[in-house]
């Protein structure tokens, strides 16, 4: 019977307990950012992305929507919008999953094992299939260019941020930065 709003509270809590940095916007729970690090054994290692998470009204019955805010070169991520064409999130979501699964399992899997046969970024997919090392080179270039730690957390007014956020929302936001990041 867990009400949907309570599931939001619980899932968000679990995410923060798992040491993820969560940026809230005015204590709202429907829409927030999570910092995500590229997995160790992937060419994305060293990159950090701000992931925009939107929890729909029907969460957890409906999947969260996940988008990369700063750019990433990946066969399954739309380069322009940052939307993820991730099977588990978009297709086979079940209310049994939670946000920790998304960041602990689904996103690392996506970066470790891109699926070029269902591409959203066709160029990346084609490159990956034809010339793996050129593809990895390009991934690293993008990480270098768009996904350094200072590209996200430290400078929230970064131009890669979302347009829906107004200036004053940020002001109140940085003081609300997630627990574990505080010294």
């Amino acid at each position: 019977m867990s009400s949907p709003s309570k599931r939001r509270d619980m899932d968000l809590m679990k995410l923060m307990m798992s040491d993820y940095k969560v940026e809230m916007i005015n204590d709202g729970m429907q829409d927030f950012y999570v910092h995500f690090h590229g997995p160790n054994d992937s060419p994305y290692h060293g990159g950090v992305w701000r992931i925009r998470v939107e929890l729909p009204d029907a969460y957890p019955y409906k999947s969260p929507s996940i988008g990369f805010v700063n750019k990433i070169y990946h066969p399954n991520v739309d380069e322009m919008s940052g939307s993820v064409c991730l099977d588990v999130i978009n297709q086979t979501w079940s209310p049994m999953f939670d946000l920790v699964n998304v960041f602990e399992v689904f996103l690392p899997q996506l970066l470790l094992y891109p699926n070029p046969s269902d591409p959203l970024n066709g160029e990346a997919a084609a490159l990956m299939m034809r010339d793996r090392s050129a593809y990895e080179q390009k991934v690293k270039e993008y990480c270098e260019k768009y996904a350094k730690p200072e590209d996200i957390g430290a400078a929230p007014e970064d131009k890669s941020s979302d347009e829906e956020l107004s200036e004053d929302e940020y002001e109140s936001q940085d003081e609300e930065m997630a627990g574990q990041a505080d010294p």
Binding site: M1, S2, S3, S5, K6, R8, D9, M10, L12, M13, M16, M17, M24, N26, D27, G28, M29, Q30, D57, A58, Y61, K62, K71, N76, D78, E79, M80, S81, S83, C85, D87, N90, Q91, P116, S117, D118, P119, L120, N121, G122, E123, A125, A126, M129, R130, K159, S160, E163, E175, E176, A178, G179, Q180, D182
Partner: protein, 1017 residues
Amino acid sequence: MAPGDANLGDIDEDLHSRQLAVYGRETMRRLFASNVLVSGMQGLGAEIAKNLILAGVKSIALHDEGEVELWDLSGNFVFSEKDVGKNRALASVQKLQELNNAVVVSTLTTELTKEKLSDFQAVVFTDINLKKAIEFNDYCHSHKPPISFIKAEVRGLFGSVFCDFGPEFTVFDVDGEDPHTGIIASISNDNPALVSCLDDERLEFEDGDLVVFSEVHGMTELNDGKPRKIKNARPYSFTLDEDTLKFGTYEKGGIVTQVKQPKMLNFKPLKEALKDPGDFLLSDYSKFDRPTLLHLAFQALDKFLSELGRFPVAGSEEDAQKLITLTANINERLEDGRVEDIDLKLLRHFAFGARAVLNPMAAMFGGIVGQEVVKACSGKFHPLFQFFYFDSLESLPTENLDPSAFQPLNSRYDAQISVFGSKLQKKLEDANVFIVGSGALGCEFLKNVALMGVSCGKEGRLTITDDDVIEKSNLSRQFLFRDWNIGQAKSTVAAAAAASINPSLNIEALQNRVGPETENVFDDTFWENLTVVINALDNVNARLYVDQRCLYFQKPLLESGTLGAKCNTQMVIPHLTENYGASRDPPEKQAPMCTVHSFPHNIDHCLTWARSEFEGLLEKTPAEVNAYLSNPVEYATAMANAGDALARDTLERVLECLDKEKCETFQDCITWARLKFEDYFANRVNQLIYTFQDAATSTGTPFWSAPKRFPHPLEFSASDPGHLHFVMSASILRAVSFGIPVPDWVKNPKMLAEAVEKVIVPEFQPKKDVKIVTDEKATSLATASADDIVIINELIKRLEQCRKNLPPGYRMKPIQFEKDDDTNFHMDVIAALANMRARNYSIPEVDKLKAKFIAGRIIPAIATSTAMATGLVCLELYKVLDGGHKLEDYRNTFANLALPLFSMAEPVPPKVIKHRDMKWTVWDRWIIKDNPTLRELLQWLKDKGLNAYSISCGSCLLYNSMFPKHRERMDRKVVDLVREVAKLELPPFRSHFDVVVACEDDDDNDIDIPPVSIYYR
């Protein structure tokens, strides 16, 4: 039975679109050719006639030899008090005719001869004695061709239906479902052969289904179109009754499609079926033995009537005893299948209510019988074979009633009083009811409650709300509306129509959508004063909202919904049942973006893409152009601030509209449309092929393998009607978006072809390093790796240049997709976009109507299932308004009239949560008074053994134990936090607000506690 010849004028698709989505054209044409007789014009006859006239049969004859009595007004919505004394058929004809002028409605007021029945394809009798029924049925059964015969009765809370569609009746479509399909992954060379399919979607084949194959590579022998039988149907595989050892080896590809088989039914005539009824259609497993008894009881009632010339009197034990004896006698004479234990109480109630036609029963059976007539006339859906009996005895009041309670009061409710007693009647009349929605369900509900007398007393009050206006497509089932009401508010028109059915109805019509934004209209006092809420909604979100409000204010909620021939009802009763939101269907699966963007494999994908292109080209971009032109400086600044790829893309589109692709003449629009054709259906496809040529995944699987379909570019030809239709509809809407007049000659294919030939199409060169999902236009400015912001600034500069050349006040006209206007070319563009794309991928194309159903997300709807759903709900309404009923008295129903299937069951009780010595359900709420601080609230919970880690209000977090910042809030009043953080406005009349608390017990187990109401003054 002779299904009518399918050779009539065109179907009015605007009027019948929702029904067409259920039946299809063929069935509708057969329906339009059918002549039907409805005999017996009390409540049931009127309901059946209404449903058939709305559906659009060719003609309907209303037969009744009797006169309207005050008694009839409990069940018949076309009669008013001034009709008393008139012939029933004559009193009905005018109001029924108004429902649909395309149907010929006539009357018959004298005794029927059997020869007269040969005028009809289907005949329905709602009030006929058994002797006559057998005579007529024999005639119909042996007639060449047979005439479909239906006998139906509603007697108080009991109902029966009998169908005989002749000795050999063919059902063309047994369930109304689309043929199932699968994408093949492998086929073995074996006997029998094993066919495996992709694990994208579960197969829905059943053993014995026939299937055909297409597009199979390698084992091409299977592509011969011959239907083959399957066995061992599993979620992702099945075996084929075929020796494939000598066939070629399967390579790749292939689609398997179910072939729907017609089914032949051999109906027995009534005389035989009475003795040997076969299996009864069950509706309620808790009553599995009832149909056998009711089969006898209805025959006994017929005997009672013929012997005494009247119905049993309500409350008369003598009459009840007589009926019981008659039933027992029939039972005695049975050779086999005798009823062991006759339920005397049941028969007593059957006797008491026998004369009454209750509106909810008439509505329910009107839906069922109406659907059977449609089946008889068209062969669509599986007929009821052959008897159906039903009772809703649980609707009776819980207390035992004295015979005097059933005495008529010389009122229009006398029939209803004879079943339920005058005390419940008074409760109905004084109820304060809220009906949410005034669409198809809402109209039916209003009719039902008006006839039942709900909210018709001095204390009674009925509020109906709907923010929608009447459209033509509503008229085929929202029967309180007429064509002259198009454009008017639904709730107002429906309320006026309901008040004309029963002038005592105290009804108020509102035009507010129910939701968080109208809580000033539907405020606490409004909710607190309600007796019951009836949902008549068409979407889940509104249902969930009303559910939450009913939970909060502890009000019963009667929920229902329909989808085509299916319907369901759910009773939400405070503290007895779970709430609506407690169980949910999984959300509708959407196709993955990548599939829609570049790799469609069915027409739905193409239509989804077409919808999104329509919106982008014709609505969003023109709106962006206008946004820019209205406030260029601010717009440019916002874009530069955003500085991302999305902003760049938007600016590029705006620039295109004002610069390179700006249209000034209609010829410009044709050029644009022609180049769009090239871009969408040739260049992009070529690019896709180029990018992925010979690509393979790391496992060696070729990139172009199932479910991906390999695309082929189209070569434009002005003589291809599909190509030309695209150019025509696209150029017309392009012209509309630029405010350019559309010349008539565009609709002349020859002249259009000439105009298209003039367009010069540049040759396509595939780019080596471009994205797939967008087109190549961006590369003219800079390479993809350049910084977006540089390009954005460049674009803004160029836009400024363009703007200087525009006349002052220049604006585009964004086009909002409207599916229900057949003349606006919107659906033409979408169907053309989708079909050309389908051609690229060798996907079968669809006609405009089918495209409209899918792209317009048209929910199939028919009058019959709607009427039945509301009848079922109103049978529950008796229980709710009586009060005191137990959980086991209530029924939720799922029904599918196409099969037909009725599945009624007790609602599920709410989940009980226990903690220490406390227990609660979703219906409970905790209350804390004296305006606590956050610390006090946490301590209050702590005292209950609960450690709260998160407290929220709406979607705002008030407290989370992980945030150091939130610890500073400890000594603040929670009400102040709610005002500041959640920005909740607390109206002066309210002295509390609610928070949601997530907490754990001392062993770190999450405990789901009720919402906490905090009183702060």
